[in-house]
């Protein structure tokens, strides 16, 4: 671990941008802390400018939000500081990562914990983006196009992101899925899903 740090520091000395990037490695969680502080600040501003009806009782609608906002600002800063001082372990750092899941309870009883998975250090943004894009597309298409097609498209998109590579086959599975859901929930349970452009046909 120490060797890693020194090489990072050496790289950092070489170029300023490289140094900044090395510093951020394992410290990306600082953004979570800052986000928390941001939400807290938003709550605080909104609470202060809240329109309170005159007839409300003495502990009004602003007390609880003010408490939560203060807590968020304090805790968010604490997290950012904590991460800045002690970054997440490097992915290849064998012994440094603590077993996940057992948590403090596991420590308390000197328990062991199985390896559930390696801690997430990298994210595959392309796959996440495809899944997210499919859901966004679904939200845009549901009302104009209807469940049958937009649902199938969503299923197809997610299956594709997760590694489906036979377009025709996956598309068939997706259409079967959305039709089964349509039959079970609209015909069976009486949910009211939009039928969209296929409205006349169905």
């Amino acid at each position: 671990m120490t060797t890693h740090r020194t090489t990072d520091a050496a790289q950092g000395a070489a170029t300023a941008t490289g140094g900044a990037r090395a510093w951020w490695r394992g410290r990306s969680e600082i953004f979570v802390g800052l986000l928390t502080v941001g939400i807290g600040a938003f709550l605080a501003v909104q609470t202060a400018s809240m329109h309170v009806p005159d007839n409300s009782a003495s502990p009004g609608p602003q007390l609880f939000p003010a408490l939560v906002a203060a807590l968020m600002i304090v805790l968010g800063s604490a997290l950012a500081l904590q991460v800045a001082r002690r970054p997440a372990p490097e992915p290849d750092d064998g012994g440094a990562d603590r077993p996940e899941g057992a948590g403090v309870v596991g420590d308390l009883v000197e328990g062991e914990s199985p390896h559930t998975a390696a801690p997430a250090t990298h994210s595959d943004w392309r796959t996440v983006g495809t899944v997210l894009g499919s859901v966004v597309l679904f939200a845009l298409l549901l009302q104009p196009v209807g469940w049958l097609l937009s649902g199938a498209l969503l299923f197809f998109g997610v299956a594709w992101a997760f590694g489906g590579r036979r377009p025709l086959f996956e598309a068939t599975v997706a259409l079967v899925y959305s039709s089964v859901v349509q039959l079970a929930f609209v015909a069976g349970l009486g949910l009211n899903l939009p039928s969209g452009i296929l409205g006349g046909v169905l």
Binding site: V32, L43, M50, H51, S56, A57, S58, P59, P61, F64, P65, V68, M72, L75, L79, G94, G95, A96, P99, G101, A102, G103, V104, V105, G106, D107, L108, V109, E112, S113, P114, H115, T116, A117, A118, P119, A120, S123, D124, W125, V128, V131, L132, V135, V136, F138, A139, L142, Q143, G151, L154, A159, W160, F162, G163, Y177, F185, L191, N192, L193
Partner: protein, 519 residues
């Protein structure tokens, strides 16, 4: 006795063909989500919530509780065969269970787990049925300050004590409280944090929050790492053979089952975030007992290569907590696990408020529910004892269809709950939030508990302060509130000290160049 009569009435209702069908669907579904890694009963109930609106409430709740129990039975199967616990409650089982499986004793491990889960469920449900009167008596003595104290207990127990990091846990808690505050304040009519968007006036629906955090968040999280190795290479240990426990196995398993139940019962009623603590306490105790026995020459200490006690005790502890968690939910209106929290939301959707009055107003439903817990436990034992290897076949479903199907259900459920596209956009935002929290190991349970108990905590706080005319001391008056706060403070202090010690021990090891002992 009165309880027998009520319970008999409950059985009459639970054994109707329709309710038996709901229980059966529930146990099938619960076992399935339990077996599949990464899914849990909380997510299953959240996804079911919107599509069951049209059902009669008794049928719906019978199904929900069956899912809850089924999840506990199912996740031990995956833990034992694959060493990938789907829920935190199965982590302790996985340790010795998987070692038993690797030694060729998978059928015995599965049988030990299934019988343990069954015993825990039956004993705890019996306790709840016969002590419901006592629970109600206690609950009726609670005023605003006591309810606030209970909510604070639930908040701190889930966020600061159980979570790995106090800061991350309490951040999760405040996120949940913030989500719960959106909308028009019921007491004063002030619009809070709605940004003038009309569909936010009614607040953010619990369905959207749970489905977004648990279902969509999980899908995104898995998507972010599926192409980076992970579980693809793992394959289940072969589980062929008869699940027959020999006399020697039984002699060791029976006391362990009973001790596990002893740990599980009290913890289910305490809002400490589910069954993590009791399962690990049960596991730790068995390990220490085995070491003790070995030292006195009274039997081998098999811990480390597949001890049957290490499977029996955590498993019965986990399902015993589920039973008493149902008791706390029904009698006090206090959810003590994520799944119970979502069920509380379900009660609210049907216009019912769990708590002492539920036993008076909806007695039929409560007793039918309790009776169906027994029915469901028997079904689960039958489904899991001989067929556990068959359930493991679920792991062969291609992941892409599994997650595509879950995503479809997530958007369907959220849309069907309100028929509003705004909720779909909220779902996407909350899914991203859930993804971010998973990535940084920020616990999700505190968010759910806060979203559901937050409004209650705020109402009771304001009510108590109004009664005390602004005197803060009124919050700490009375023996019950003082007792609750003392326990909270003691627990937080205990965990804080234990954690600091563990940290300094780890630091010392790092300095001497030793690796921390891992798994």
């Amino acid at each position: 006795m009165e309880t027998f009569g009520l319970l008999a009435g409950g059985f009459a209702a639970a054994l109707t063909p329709e309710n038996l069908l709901w229980a059966f669907i529930g146990v099938l579904l619960g076992t399935a989500v339990g077996v599949l890694p990464g899914l849990g009963s909380a997510m299953a109930v959240a996804l079911l919530l919107p599509v069951t609106f049209k059902l009669d409430p008794t049928g719906a709740f019978i199904m929900f509780t069956a899912v809850y129990y089924g999840g506990l039975f199912g996740d031990s199967t995956t833990s034992i065969l694959m060493n990938t616990p789907g829920n935190s409650s199965a982590i302790a089982t996985a340790i010795e269970g998987h070692r038993m499986a690797k030694r060729g004793r998978a059928p015995q491990a599965l049988a030990t787990a299934a019988i343990g889960a069954f015993l825990g469920a039956v004993v705890s449900t019996t306790v709840v049925a016969f002590f419901s009167g006592v629970i109600i008596d206690i609950a009726l003595r609670f005023g605003p300050a006591e309810y606030l104290a209970l909510a604070v207990f639930a908040f701190l127990a889930t966020s600061a004590v159980v979570a790995q990091s106090m800061v991350r846990g309490t951040i999760a808690l405040t996120i949940g409280l913030a989500i719960a505050m959106v909308g028009i304040d019921a007491q004063s009519g002030a619009a809070r944090f709605t940004l003038g968007i009309p569909s936010l006036f009614e607040g953010i629906s619990v369905v959207t929050v749970t489905v977004g955090l648990l279902a969509l968040g999980e899908v995104l999280h898995v998507a972010s790492r599926i192409h980076r190795g992970g579980h693809q290479g793992a394959s289940p240990v072969n589980a062929g053979g008869t699940p027959w426990l020999g006399r020697g196995d039984l002699r060791r398993a029976v006391p362990a089952w009973l001790r596990g139940i002893g740990f599980g019962l009290p913890f289910g009623a305490v809002p400490a975030g589910g069954s993590e603590i009791p399962t690990f306490l049960a596991y730790g105790t068995e390990r220490r007992l085995a070491r003790f026995r070995a030292r006195r020459g009274k039997g081998p200490d098999e811990f480390g290569d597949g001890a049957i006690e290490g499977v029996a005790a955590p498993e019965s502890a986990a399902s015993a907590t589920a039973g008493t968690a149902m008791g706390a939910l029904l009698g006090l209106g206090l959810p003590t696990s994520a799944t119970a929290a979502i069920m509380l939301a379900a009660f609210q959707q049907y216009g019912m408020q769990p708590g002492p009055l539920l036993f008076e107003r909806n007695a039929d439903l409560v007793w039918a529910l309790l009776a169906s817990l027994f029915v469901g436990s028997v079904m689960l034992l039958i489904l899991n004892l001989p067929f556990a290897p068959l359930w493991a076949k679920l792991l062969l479903i291609p992941r892409r269809y599994l997650y595509a199907g879950i995503t479809g259900f997530a958007v369907l459920g959220v849309y069907a709950a309100s028929y509003s596209i705004t909720d779909l956009w909220l779902l996407i935002l909350l899914g991203l939030l859930g993804f971010m929290m998973r990535r940084y190991e920020i616990p999700l349970a505190p968010v759910l508990i806060a979203v559901i108990l937050g409004p209650l905590a705020e109402t009771e706080l304001r009510r108590a302060l109004a009664i005390g005319q602004g005197d803060v001391g009124v919050l700490f008056a009375g023996p019950i509130t003082l007792g609750i706060y003392t326990v909270v403070l003691a627990a937080v202090a205990f965990v804080g000290i234990a954690r600091m010690r563990a940290r300094s021990r780890a630091a010392a090891q790092e300095e001497t160049g030793e690796d921390a002992p891992v798994g």
